[in-house]
Amino acid sequence: MRWRIPAGLPVALVVAAVLAVLPFELSGYHQVLAAHVGIYFIAILGLNILTGYTGQISIGHGAFMAIGGYTTAVMSHYHHTNLVLTLPLAFALAFACGVLVGIPALRFSGVYLALATFALAVSVPQLALKFSKFLGGSNGLETSKTVSHAWLYAACWSCAAILFVVAWLLLRGRTGRAFRAVRDSELAAVSTGISLPIYKTLAFGVSAAFAGVAGSLFVIETNGFAQPNEFGVILSLQILIGAAVAGLGSLRGVLVGALFIGLLPEISSSAPLIGSAHGQDVVFGLIVIAIMILLPNGVAGLLARLARLRARA
């Protein structure tokens, strides 16, 4: 079969080029902001695989971020593991946890699955308080090394790039088609021989693994400090909102979703009228509502609509 240039490759290459050059133009502080967007990029990518491609909702991805983040903190703190090595460790452990969650989740769907994952989001970070001796408790757990702003940027966007390619390869092949079949009609999928348990738990595992890496980078971004308050319920909701803004079921809008979640608090805090602490939350909420009304399929949906308009013209 002839190898066709994948649609979107030119855009992806341009974005990659910009990202490669960007850190040299940014101040240290802005490098951190950009890295922050990269972390959300990875988390939203992961959630999209689960919710957008197999239709399983999760408002608990903050829990998987916590698992990844604490993996990095524990390995670095107790074993002085190289921070880069903790990333695949976090990926693996979060994957395992995702599969473990995915198995009972087979019985749930819709709002019940949402509630079950919400329970995860609430309870998992508390484990650090329960096992406070080992996991640092409320005073947190620190890595043995901290990193420079430039290192953080490089790590976040390298992981983002690698995981984006992984996601793309996964989703364009048989697995991706199986995922979409599961999402569109479980009955039809089963009747064509697709094993629901395997693909649904696989999706949970992969999705959680992505969130785990995002969590590791999140802890590294926080000066290597892992503490339960960092992984509140809000984090899970933010990832879901980011995925919705990006557009579920497509990889195209993920960057915009990440920019939205990563930068909006920053931008709104310096806006004049609404710059106060509470004003920010109100504005954020209003914007999310507006986007859901105007762009129910997110940015990806918008791009698809524009493409169709262009095709018709």
């Binding site: 101040s27 240290g28 502080y29 951190v32 902001l33 922050h36 508390q126 308080l129 329960k130 406070s132 408790g137 409320s138 005073n139 947190g140 620190e142 901290t146 999140f218 971004e221 926080t222 000066n223 400090f225 503490q227 308050n229 960092e230 509140g232 602490a277 509470h278 939350d281």
Partner: protein
Amino acid sequence: MGMKGRRILVVLATAALVAVVSATAAFGAHRTDPGITSTQITIGGTFPLTGPAALYSTIPLAEKAYFDYVNDHGGVNGRKIKFEILDDAYDPSKTVPLTQQLVEQDKVFADYGSLGTAPSLAVWKYLNQQKVPQVLLATGDSYWGFSYKTYPWTTGFQPDYPGEAKIYGKYILKNLPNAKIGVIYQNDSYGKNYLAGLRVGLGLAKAKTMIVSAQSYDVTQTSLTQQILALKASGADTFVVFATPSPTITALATAAAVGWAPTQTFVNNVSAVSVFMQLAASHGAKIDGAISTGYLVDATVPSEANLPGIALGKQILAQYAPGLDVKNQLTFYGLADAWTMVYALKNAGKTPTRVGLMNALHNLDPKKAKNPFLYPGVSLQTSFKNGSHDNFPLEAETLVKWSGGGAGGWTPFGTVYQGAR
């Protein structure tokens, strides 16, 4: 002199001129520390303005009121204080980027007054690496006082928790020598450090015999019935509560609910704010006679109404922060903390320097640093002279007793315990 000679002379003269000019420039041009201009000192801190600890947002607002007052009365040797209050919602993942913003974007002179142990731990390595003062932190953990060797740019402010517990131990030894003590403590460093301080105050030998039961709870638990029942069954008659506000209220209410009536209760300072005590009483807790500590002037105590600090505090709050309730002890915490910062800034050099600020904070002389917002008998004191390393600005506390039930308040009694460390 020939042509060549004159040229050499010109060159030498120019060189000399350049040397003199640049030398003067080098001597004349001071490189001031970041955050210092001829008219302004910029400081900033991270505080929970929203989120689970938002009730502490009173503290930075009171501090800002004090700085506004100082700015209107000559400032710090002519410079006005610009105080940036950033909201980290008690979330270290927000504290870190906000602190980086303060240091790298806003170029503050010092990180001042930041609130919370975990948030402060998340940034103290960073701030010390950057040699940015991290001072007068709003948390009672002892790390800030002990760690001057590894973290020389960090100081705390309030009397630390173990020191406070030592005072309870000393009081019990003296006044309740036959007490059977039952302790409930939070199962983390907060509670454990408090318990350790109590043991030191009692003396380790007595602690073994007098503490008949020590029950811990996880901060995630909402019900403390099991622990309270265990304390009741142990026969304890003295109840010591080392818990953050919410579990404290639960513990006090549960004790009453299960019919346990210890003859003496001790409540840790952080949870003893009048509002919490009144809330506990409204849930049925028997709080009359409970003992805690105090180190600030308190506008709810009638006998203190004539103290100069009360009048000054009321005046400042009325003018610069009318939205704050003067009866909330947290306002006087903020005023006292801000007063200390202004005093230190004024003693940090004619042009304040970061090193100067740390020196001032490490050498607080009680005879000179007379903070009006401190309870009479409580003074600021630190010393890094003559080999000593006292890095705890406040150690003295007075005991206070609750009376008046659900509508009552704290009254100081007895002497001020000095230097609990």
